[in-house]
């Protein structure tokens, strides 16, 4: 893979929020890359920092309340060093984002077509009618029937699935290089989810973009992601090609997730939960954020800061256990539990 394929290179990203209750360390020392044609699935629960990471990439965090350190290199340029007006030129044009709840994400008082046309005119000096034509074109491309008439509708006249399609259309207006999708299917019905996942995949292939797919649903990740980044408590726990994560996971948190998930293809004899609750970000645990809940924890877990090396095709995790121990646990316990329960 040539380096010109690398779209996004996040290096040592940390985000801190100064709130009334104290300092919230939302993301700590996060590094990963995204290349063209890749779908990076970012998996994590509440407090994992996955959403904050995407907002940091888009430049949507308020810098007066958020301290951001590290680098976010987009095709070589550090987004964190850009001025607000320079950043605005990138946002929505080279890097686009769609969010979780498509109903709340569209302005209720403007027509859907108008909102997409607005996105066109935000980065291109075209007439209103030209922008409208482009809007209709995109609505059609994402599978909205009768795009020409439907463009004149208001968001409340669209169904949930259609609204998410409209959001995707809006994100694609300027052929971005990177598309970030934050829980795009969580608020949708199962049968509609399937349609949207396929649409995102199609978009990725047709437009040759890099996709960051943020979700808590391992099933969605397994079906669409080429690479997976597992986050917990603001840190990266494991990173690697999707196939390897599901067939040879190395981090106890990933093991815990795989063991505790019910499956649609089989009823399991027993679910093995991860005890405890997601960590508080105001008072995060010392050392590895997962150690209070970890069944395999050792002496050094509460004092060693976890470190993860994300090489493009490598598979790495941030756990201090030895590689042999991890393989042993996977082979002797996890695989049996997942397959044979």
């Amino acid at each position: 893979m040539s380096s010109s394929d690398t779209l996004l290179d996040v290096r040592d990203l940390s985000v801190r929020f100064r709130t009334r209750d104290g300092v919230v360390q939302a993301v700590s020392n996060l590094s990963f890359t995204l290349r063209r044609g890749e779908t990076l699935g970012v998996v994590g629960e509440s407090g994992s920092g996955k959403s904050v990471t995407s907002l940091a990439i888009m430049g949507l965090l308020n810098r007066t309340f958020a301290d951001i350190t590290g680098e976010i290199l987009f095709e070589g340029t550090d987004l964190l060093k850009l001025s607000p007006s320079e950043l605005r030129k990138v946002r929505g044009k080279d890097v686009s984002m769609i969010f979780q709840d498509p109903f709340a994400c569209l302005h209720p008082m403007y027509r859907v077509g108008a909102q997409i046309a607005e996105a066109v005119r935000a980065h291109a000096n075209v007439s209103h009618s030209a922008a409208w034509v482009r809007a209709v074109e995109l609505l059609d491309a994402v599978g909205i029937p009768n795009a020409k008439t439907r463009a004149r509708d208001y968001p409340h006249q669209f169904s949930g699935g259609m609204r998410q399609r409209a959001m995707i259309a809006m994100a694609l207006v300027h052929n971005p290089a990177v598309l970030i999708a934050d829980e795009p299917t969580t608020a949708l019905d199962v049968t509609v989810q399937a349609q949207i996942i396929e649409l995102i995949d199609k978009v990725k292939r047709d437009f040759n973009v890099g996709v960051i797919l943020i979700t808590h649903d391992l099933g969605v990740v397994a079906e669409t992601a080429s690479h997976v980044l597992v986050m917990y408590g603001g840190r990266a726990m494991e990173y690697g090609p999707s196939r390897e994560i599901f067939h040879a996971a190395q981090h106890p948190y990933a093991w815990g997730l795989l063991e505790s998930m019910p499956r649609v293809d089989r009823k399991l004899d027993v679910l093995i939960p991860i005890e405890g609750s997601p960590p508080s970000l105001l008072n995060p645990p010392s050392g590895c954020p997962f150690h209070p809940r970890c069944k395999y924890r050792v002496e050094s877990c509460d004092s060693t800061t976890p470190h993860l090396q994300t090489m493009p095709d490598g598979h790495d995790d941030s756990c201090v256990l030895s590689a042999e121990r991890k393989r042993e646990v996977w082979r002797d316990r996890i695989v049996k539990e997942i397959d044979a329960r």
């Binding site: 399937a194 996942i197 998930m261 019910p262 499956r263 649609v264 009823k267 939960p273």
Partner: protein
């Protein structure tokens, strides 16, 4: 286990027959045309003692309304509800009261289903206060808190001091207080983090064994439903599309909608991108329950739709092996099936 409840001890715990619930939606100042939401339409099913009946479906299918009808939180438009052999459809409030001890409900959102102004001890103790059954409420409450995995010392804490999973445990403790026979669980784990879901599901299972409970478990998550249910009812637009024993339903769904649902669920068991799994993709969106399609409500989206049959004659639930029933004129012959195969029902399948 509990005194003062009479029961036949035989037969299903809950039986509903031809249960229907319509909500009227007024249109216009002069109420020119009354819109009617067909939330639940002609639903009949039974819940056996000690089992978990799962009800699954997408938005607008009527599962939540059915849950509330079962415990008479809302009243039906027509149909009958029998609880423990007794017809409770039209019972007055006063006569329902003692029965309410036997049927409880747990809600989806652990953040809004607990009164933020009451301490956890007060919340769990409230059922005792209402039904005046205990003298030493406090120790009973602490016993319950311990049983659901919470620290009894936290009796005086308030909901906002607990995490989502812990709050859901409080809701469960509250439901258990009066030793009910039936607990309706309305999406109890949907709002929880994945790592906590398994804890709550395990807790519910343990409690069922220990207290001989019957569950009606509502969810949109097909993997959770498979894990917890003995029998499952699949609902679509207010009607039951398919109902039967859980394993059999997943191994061989008979209704095309169930088939599409099963094939749509993203799976972690696949091997990554483009796994080549043939997904049955339904066109369009779920129609509005105000204006449901004629005859078979699924026909506009059904890959097997046969004009002249499916849009003319309403299918009734017909029986397959065991107690597996599906309401379809052209049920699915075998499973798995690809979408193309689904579109071509074999001849003679109408008479099963």
């Amino acid at each position: 286990m509990s005194a003062g409840t009479t029961s036949s001890g035989q037969g299903p715990l809950v039986e509903i027959e031809h249960l229907t619930k319509h909500f009227s939606v007024k249109q216009g100042v002069f109420a020119r045309g009354k819109g009617v939401v067909h939330a639940v339409e002609d639903v009949s099913l039974t819940v056996n003692r000690g089992e978990t009946l799962g009800i699954v479906g997408e938005s607008g299918c009527g599962k939540t309304t059915t849950a509330r009808l079962l415990v008479r939180l809302i009243d039906p438009t027509s149909g009958t509800i029998r609880f423990d052999g007794q017809d409770i459809t039209n019972l007055s409030r006063a006569r329902m009261r003692p029965l309410r001890r036997q049927m409880q409900i747990i809600f989806q959102d652990p953040y809004s289903s607990l009164n933020p102004r009451k301490s956890v001890g007060q919340i769990v103790g409230e059922p005792f206060a209402i039904h005046r059954t205990e003298t030493d409420v406090k120790s009973r409450v602490q016993e319950l808190l311990a049983r659901v995995g919470l620290n009894p010392e936290h009796y005086n804490r308030f909901p906002h001091e607990f995490s989502g999973g812990q709050r859901q445990r409080v809701g469960i403790a509250r439901a258990l207080a009066l030793q009910p026979k039936l607990i309706v669980c309305d999406e109890p784990v949907s709002a929880l983090d994945v790592s906590v879901q398994a804890q709550i599901l395990n807790l519910l299972k343990d409690l069922q064994r220990e207290f001989d409970l019957t569950y009606v478990f509502i969810s949109h998550d097909l993997s959770v439903i498979r894990q917890v249910s003995d029998r499952i009812a699949v609902m679509y637009l207010g009607r039951v599309a398919e109902i039967g024993e859980s394993e059999r339903l997943y191994e061989h769904p008979r209704h095309p909608y169930t088939a599409a649902l099963l094939s749509a669920v993203p799976r972690a068991e696949t091997n990554g991108v483009g796994s080549g799994r043939h997904r049955i993709v339904l066109g369009g969106d779920v129609p509005s329950p105000v204006d449901p399609p004629a005859a078979c409500v699924f026909h506009p989206r059904c890959p097997r739709f046969r004009p002249g049959l499916c849009d003319v004659e309403t299918p009734i639930l017909r029986r397959f092996d065991g107690d597996h029933e599906a309401a379809c004129h052209l049920p699915v012959e075998r499973w798995p099936m690809s979408e193309e195969e689904l579109r071509r029902p074999s001849a003679g399948v109408e008479q099963v």
